[in-house]
Every structure is written in structure tokens, then in C-alpha cells.
Symmetry: C2
Subunit: 134 residues, 2 copies
DNA sequence: CTGTATCCTGCCGGATACTG
DNA sequence: CAGTATCCGGCAGGATACAG
């Protein structure tokens, strides 16, 4: 593979996330970002209202959840349904595309969760090896 | 589902990424982070040396690539092989676990890349709707 | 070539207060 | 309840220089 080739099979890709200015990179960051991934997967089983969502995603602030939801809604991954009642009630749920993305994220998360023992093991070994040198 | 239940089926999970202090959250962030996801998938097809990797991941700085690689190596996802030659030569490649994770990431990335037309469409509609209101 | 070390800036993101 | 507005500290992360 010569160096002008970005990567295998990527020649014909209109949206290459490995290229700096490609808009797909921004979307990927929304999806995989600190709160984006958790928000999407939190909506996988069932939709939720704002505060319910806050409770599902432990640690997220109002501001960041709001920002995250707006970005995901703009990208067409989350659907926002506001009801003009009093008190106001807003439901969030995944769009079909959002569900596909969330499904993949869920798989990734479950893989990571399931392999945490290995990860923690690797960390111990890594840290131990570093301590000796120090 | 009462509010003490974290989420469906998660009762018995030792590592729940939805909980704030769980170490799995940190690993997930390494994996899905801005540079982590691109670095891992860039190594999927074949290992690479430092500068080759920098070229594959367009836009990453030396500092961030170095940091990212260290974090991934510590978590047992990337293997670092330094050869004591002059000039120095260091090869990076995925561990078996890293390959599994990268595979999932690759699927996610390809999904996003393939659906970018839909995403851009959704964005246009969203922005248009906002402009009217402003 | 393969990195660290240092400096510096922007903006991420938390806390708080306020609105409808 | 469902958010926006504002302030502000910390750190992510870029640029640069330097080391082995």
C-alpha cells in the first residue's frame, strides 16, 4: 500500500472519518463522546424524559445533557417530543438510525464491561513495570 | 422498574459503565475518545510505527498520539514493541482484546460514514427550522 | 525516528441562578 | 418539570523545543 492510499477500500468512500475536515468526524465525536455514547445507549431500551435520562446517566449535568441531546437531535439520532402541557413534558427517543448506532454502542460497551477484569489486570502489570523503573 | 434498579439486567453486572465511579467508564472513554477510537481502528488492518500512525490519523498531534497510545497500552489494548536499534524503531499493534474492540469500533464508524447523507439531511432540516424561529 | 518537556490558550464542563 | 443563562476554573490539547 503506497502512502497516497488513505486506507484499504477507503478510496471510494465519500465520507472518511480519518480525514481531518470530514463532517463524519464531527458526528462520530457526538456519538462516541463522553456523554453522547451513554445518552444514546440509555435510550436504547425505552425513551425517557429529561430528568429520567439524567438519572440513568449518572454524573451528567443539566447543561451537558441538554447540549448532548441537541447535538444528537440535530444529527437525526434522537427525536424530541415536547408536549405543550403544564407542567411541561418532553420525551426523548431514538430515531431508527439512532437505534442502529445505539445498538453498536451497546455491543461495544458490553464488550468492555465484560472484559474489565483483563483490563484491570493489564493495568496492574503496566503500573508495576513502571514503578520498578522509577 | 423501581428507581433503585440501575437498568435492565444490570443488577448482576460487576462493571456498570452507567455508574459514575466505575473504572469501566474510564476505559470506555479511552476507547471511544476523540483519538482513541481513531487510533484503535487505524491499527486494525495492520500494526504501524509511530509516524506512520500519525499519518493515518489525520490531525493528531505527537503529544496526543503518545498519550493515547500509553493509555491504550496500559488498558491492554495495544502492544508496544520497541527495538533497540539506531535509529529507534517502535511498532504498535493490537492485542487480541484490542482487536475485538477495534472491530466493534470499525463497525460503528462504517455505519456512521455510510449514513452521513441522512445525518446531513437531518442537520439541514434542523438548522432550517431554527432559522425561521430566530 | 521516537518520543518527552514545557508553555499557553481555548473551551469543556460543573455550579449556580433564573425562567416559563 | 424542563430547560436556558452566566460565570469561571481546570485541563485538554496544540505549538514548540529539545533529548536519546
Amino acid at each position: 500500500m503506497d502512502e497516497t492510499t488513505p486506507r484499504d477500500g477507503a478510496d471510494s468512500l465519500p465520507f472518511d472519518v480519518f480525514s481531518r475536515q470530514c463532517p463524519s468526524r464531527g458526528t462520530l465525536e457526538h456519538v462516541t463522546g463522553r456523554w453522547g455514547s451513554l445518552t444514546l445507549t440509555a435510550l436504547y431500551e425505552t425513551g425517557a424524559r429529561f430528568n429520567e435520562l439524567r438519572r440513568r446517566v449518572d454524573g451528567v449535568s443539566e447543561k451537558m445533557l441538554s447540549q448532548t441531546l441537541h447535538a444528537l437531535e440535530r444529527d437525526g439520532l434522537v427525536l424530541r417530543e415536547a408536549q405543550p402541557t403544564n407542567p411541561p413534558r418532553v420525551d426523548y427517543e431514538l430515531t431508527p438510525l439512532g437505534r442502529e448506532v445505539a445498538g453498536r454502542l451497546l455491543g461495544l460497551i458490553q464488550l468492555v464491561e465484560g472484559r474489565m477484569p483483563e483490563v484491570l489486570d493489564a493495568r496492574s502489570r503496566y503500573d508495576e513495570a513502571r514503578e520498578v523503573t522509577l
